[in-house]
Subunit: 124 residues, 2 copies
């Protein structure tokens, strides 16, 4: 089981990799057979290739993440509220999201779920 | 499928029932066979009797909930960050939590997960 500090560090590494536009840095946080359900209710992306494709596209939009409040960490999970900020031409758009990461014993993310819906967008 | 407005209303009803110390008001939000995993990693409470026992105890501590940021709503879910405030003698204690509610077609909560850990307590 990873420590709370390791799981918190993974969340910060995720946010920082978006800031650097480093999709490989994001992919490296995930287990080889991890699942990414973003948003929840859509088919999961499974495995590094699908996850790389997804994050290359996401990061390619210029999206930056800003954490909102403390990361909730315990057991095998980290849950965190954040705002996605997107440049849309002249204007900024935002999406309010809550992510849940579940970790494997090696400290890699084995599943990610992103909770947001149409009402969580502003400026679009 | 419940509407986003119905799921948001359920979250507000949950917070308001804590404020009124109304455990039956909380129980009424859940499906008869719902599961409550609070915190995540502990055995789920299953069904109204177990859920009533849990919330009677929780509300009996005097805990009040304050939402932090917008409720994330989509599909069959509502996810929300909040702070639990507890009176501990002279002092206040707080716990930072993220809850995920999943709803059934009737608009009742069929599963609740509460994400927090030891590092999310202050003042204890």
């Amino acid at each position: 089981m990873p420590t709370p500090e390791q799981m918190q560090a993974a969340v910060h590494a995720y946010v920082d990799a978006f800031a650097r536009e480093d999709s490989e840095g994001v992919v490296a946080l995930f287990a080889e057979d991890a699942t990414v359900e973003d948003p929840v209710g859509t088919p999961a992306k499974v495995g590094h290739d699908a996850i790389r494709e997804f994050y290359t596209m996401s990061i390619g939009t210029g999206a930056k993440l800003e954490l909102q409040g403390p990361i909730r960490v315990g057991g095998d999970f980290a849950a965190f509220a954040f705002q996605v900020r997107l440049k849309m031409g002249e204007a900024d758009a935002t999406v309010d999201v809550i992510d849940v990461f579940r970790f494997d014993d090696a400290g890699k993310v084995r599943s990610m779920q992103a909770f947001f819906g149409p009402g969580n967008f502003t400026g679009m």
